[in-house]
């Protein structure tokens, strides 16, 4: 099936609205052609992952769009970059890479993107309406947008995200189409103890297991009695999108497109039913840790996805004014930092030994000290997945409470309720 462009889309691709808009429209159309999309559809907003510096070519591309007079046609928030623009933490990026990363930041600002610099835009006021089509990048943002907000997006990769934002269009394909949002898999957690499901660690652990089991399929989680809260869904989706190519999940009775399992399945029989056992959850929990040496930790990192204000409240309660004995990185966005600064909370946290990392995070840019054989403790399923490859540290997974106690003592302590 050939991609059919409207006369207006063809005119934009031909340069009617300037060279930058033409590049963007041609990229969207060419991607649509490769995907087999019949047409382009209008989008309501975009979230841009492409402003993270991977090399000079990405900066040159963004600058080419700026030179061509391009502007985002829809609301566009920015995901994390490679720099802590708020100056809270020290990023060890020097010379040409630092300058090119700075130029990239500037180019995306000129394209009209909001300086949100967060991987949790949905907690920074960017919440598209249920059923609306959007073009979002960053795997956790995509899965939250689809699953928790009920807006419709595919997993938009680098360059296509900003191209869609400028064109105001996306290929009509994949999760934009209602028939592809139906669950084909049931992930039943009803056999797990209620005490486990009520705890914070259940969600990253189950998310990690779900991602491995579901791959790129859409599934519905059953057996969840109460809404676990937005931060729990954030942790579940981020872990699932790290271990699998998950773009959308449903939780029966919790997420907007799944008032019950039958609705999520659209009346059809599932292709597979996974009955999650306590043993499976325990194995998934163990798989989140890679550290062999477990008598000491070298650092703690939390905040992937970026911490919410509620998560900072919990962190402050757990620290309780004590002094931490190992470096403790808390990654967040400026939407939270601004609030923390208003009433002296940032300086109190820093006095306890917390390094706040804003606008970026410890697995996408060099912040952690280089340390052969270093052990990083985290409560984030996503950090647990990416830290070994991206930082060289091995990881120990634990709850937020265990992360704080371990940071106070400098050695790992676990007090978790078993699955």
């Amino acid at each position: 099936m050939a991609l059919d462009l409207s006369p207006e889309e063809r005119a934009i691709a031909g340069g009617h609205r300037g060279g930058g808009a033409a590049i963007a429209m041609r990229i969207v159309a060419e991607s649509g052609r490769l995907l087999g999309a019949p047409r382009l559809i209008p989008i309501a907003s975009a979230h841009i992952d492409g402003a993270l510096y991977h090399g000079d070519s990405g900066t040159l591309f963004a600058e080419r769009l700026v030179e061509g007079g391009a502007k985002a046609a829809v609301r566009s928030t920015l995901n994390v970059g490679a720099l802590d623009l708020m100056g809270c933490s020290k990023v060890r990026l020097e010379g040409v890479p630092r300058e090119m990363a700075r130029r990239m930041t500037e180019a995306y600002r000129k394209l009209g993107c909001e300086q949100s610099w967060t991987c949790a835009p949905y907690q920074a006021g960017h919440r598209p309406a249920q059923g609306s089509d959007v073009a979002w990048g960053e795997s956790n943002a995509v899965v939250f947008c689809n699953s928790v907000l009920g807006a419709r997006t595919n997993r938009y990769g680098d360059f296509l995200d900003i191209a869609c934002a400028i064109a105001g269009r996306a290929p009509d394909y994949g999760l934009h189409r209602p028939e592809n949002r139906r669950a084909t898999l049931v992930f039943d957690v009803s056999a797990l103890p209620a005490s486990f499901l009520a705890g914070e660690t259940a969600w990253p652990i189950l998310g990690s297991l779900y991602g491995r089991e579901a791959g790129n399929a859409v599934g519905v989680v059953t057996g969840v009695a109460h809404h676990p809260g937005e931060d729990a869904l954030k942790a579940f989706g981020a872990a699932a999108a790290s271990s699998g190519a998950v773009g959308l999940f449903h939780i029966a009775g919790v997420t907007p497109e799944a008032p019950d399992a039958a609705t999520a399945l659209a009346g059809s029989e599932p292709d597979a039913v996974i009955h999650v056992t306590a043993q499976m959850a325990a194995a998934a929990r163990a798989a989140l840790s890679t550290a062999v040496k477990t008598d000491a930790i070298d650092a703690v990192a939390i905040g992937s996805p970026h911490l919410s204000l509620a998560e900072f409240d919990a962190l402050e309660r757990l620290i309780g004014g004590r002094r931490l004995s190992v470096p403790f990185y808390a990654c967040t966005g400026r939407h939270v930092l601004t609030v923390l600064e208003q009433d002296g909370r940032r300086s109190a946290l820093e006095k306890s030994g917390v390094t706040i990392v804003a606008d970026t995070c410890v697995v996408v840019t060099p912040i952690l000290p280089t340390l052969a054989g270093g052990v990083l403790m985290t409560n984030s399923g996503k950090f647990a997945h990416y830290a070994p490859g991206n930082t060289g540290y091995s990881v120990l997974y634990g709850s937020l409470g265990d992360c704080v106690e371990s940071a106070v003592l400098g050695r790992p302590v676990f007090s978790e309720i078993a699955a």
């Binding site: 990229i27 995907l35 991977h54 090399g55 070519s57 990405g58 080419r64 795997s139 360059f159 296509l160």
Partner: protein, 136 residues
């Protein structure tokens, strides 16, 4: 041996030693964007160079930054001489689409059934810009 393949993304033909990957690869995290060397320690061909080779891809694992790595390789001169894919991967090929928009010289990307990849292994392959492959 001569074969005609479907063009996925037009570009420059070229000549190079065939590199037929035994397993799918994620370009982000799997290929060094600075050198074109396969860096994924779990990949059977870790340590091989994709720069200048005619690269046969049985499949890709989709990191959404694969396009950024391929664009960077085109920009720094470490891209494959040509890419041959079993099926189109819109995220990876976006790197070539963007490179073309930048006016950079980009390798051609072709589609060919993976069953016919094996015949090219270890041979020098010439790819012309209309999608013809010839193995010496």
């Amino acid at each position: 041996m001569n074969t005609q393949a479907e063009i996925l993304v037009p570009g420059q033909g070229g000549e190079g030693e065939a590199l037929v990957l035994d397993a799918p690869i994620s370009f982000w995290g799997g290929v060094d964007a600075g050198t074109g060397r396969i860096a994924d320690v779990r990949h059977p061909q870790c340590g091989q160079d994709i720069a200048g080779r005619v690269l046969f891809l049985p499949g890709t694992i989709g990191s959404s930054s694969a396009s950024a790595v391929l664009l960077e390789l085109v920009h720094n001169g470490h891209a494959p001489a040509a890419l041959v894919l079993h099926e189109p991967d819109a995220i990876l090929l976006l790197g070539l689409i963007v490179a073309r928009e930048m006016g950079w010289q980009t390798p051609i990307a072709l589609r060919l059934a993976r069953e016919s990849f094996g015949a090219f292994q270890g041979r020098t392959v010439q790819v012309d810009d209309s999608g013809g492959l010839a193995a010496a």
